[in-house]
Amino acid sequence: MPSHRMRMGDGRVEAMSSDKVRADILAGTEDAADRGRIPTITEQERDHLFDLFAYPGRIVGVEPGREVVLSDDGVAGSLYAEQGDSGVGVPVSREQAIRLFERAFGFDTIELGHPDYSYKPVKPIVANEQQCMESVLLGTIIPVYYGAMPNLATYARPDGPFGNPSDLLPEGKIEEARAAQLAAAEACTRDMVYVGRKMADAGADGLDFDTTASAGDAEFLATLLAVEELSANTHLSIQVGMAAEFVLGMHGEVTYKGERLAGLYPHQQVKLVEKAGAAVFGPVVNTNTRRSCAWNVARAVTFVKACSEAASIPIHANVGMGVGGVPMCETPPVDAVTRASVAMVEIGRVDGL
């Protein structure tokens, strides 16, 4: 029985038999199907996935002609940022980093973002961000997004003025926790709309809401309302990227256009994002660090394929560190990343990554 070099979800390498690889692929797709109440990938797709993982070469690529559009969540920062963002600390400016990604690295789109990557801290310095956006737009050809996270948690005490549900819920103060989240969500929407309008004034091509719903369903609502306002009243093309595969019910009863937000999976999330007016949706499927990449990728593409089939707007799946079947480690290994990348395109049927 041949042995395959298999990455685990934490980046370690293990030897794995063909039977075990096939078993992991089946278990991964069945886990997604069970949780999301969606179909598993087909036997032919499982075979294709097996071939990707059994291929002995270091990197793999899509069939020529099947390439997709790349968008990002502040990837230019990986050149100049610190270790927390896997940054390599090169002394270049944001403008220079963006030019490098366009002209040297062949990126299809690019994003400008502040190192403190949330809308709330951007609000008081938005003029600086507009100035930087205008400067970037003068010299670039590819579409430029401005991006940041809704990050509702920054509105709760001690960082913000509203009650903290993580303190209130353990005390049994359910109604107070819910009211605090809704008040925070209103402020969050206001800030996102404010920054979005300023970026529209600066001429940005698009706006990216990254890591959406990280604080749960109230944050998802805040974002959908901001998307609704900005897509209706500005030229901005809006991308909504999620934080996790499942919307946490930190509030539990929040709805948008009659749909309860808690518990939604990617194929359900995308329908609401479409209704709000977004142009691109970025589903997330979290990586389980204890399982193999074969298991994780099979699971991720099952969720994403269902999302792509349900969508009428372009799907740009998140395939970064710890999501989309990519291992959770600071230097994502290219063998695992390229396999996840190809699987998302050829099985997940995404429009971009």
Partner: protein
């Protein structure tokens, strides 16, 4: 995409699945996704039609390098006299029939009374 060091994350995806940006026609296909919410097949077919090439040519850097120079819509190598930045985007907007906000801002400035 997502978080990771430049080689492990963006570079890996560029080589495995990316359209190549201005090295090929990635920016043009991206524009149709952003401006018109087109799915990938529709966006590629639209751009290929406008350029008069096959869909598989859109990610062929040899075909697109020549075509981009011919259309003067921005080329990846540093070529004196070639359209770049806003000038290239203005031509791309005309080619694809889309309004690019930064180009419109420049147009308004140029046309405003002195």
């Amino acid at each position: 995409m997502g978080v990771g060091d430049p080689v492990g994350m963006p570079m890996a995806h560029v080589l495995a699945s990316g359209m190549g940006g201005i090295r090929a026609a990635g920016d043009l296909v991206a524009r149709m996704q952003l401006h018109r919410k087109m799915r990938i097949s529709e966006a590629k077919a639209f751009v290929a039609g406008k350029l008069g090439v096959g869909v598989s040519d859109l990610s062929d850097e040899v075909v697109m390098r020549e075509l981009r120079e011919e259309l003067d819509i921005g080329v990846v190598t540093a070529m004196p006299g070639a359209a770049r930045g806003l000038a290239a985007k203005a031509r791309i907007g005309r080619l694809l029939g889309v309004e690019i906000a930064s180009v419109e801002t420049l147009r308004k400035k140029l046309n405003a009374e002195l």
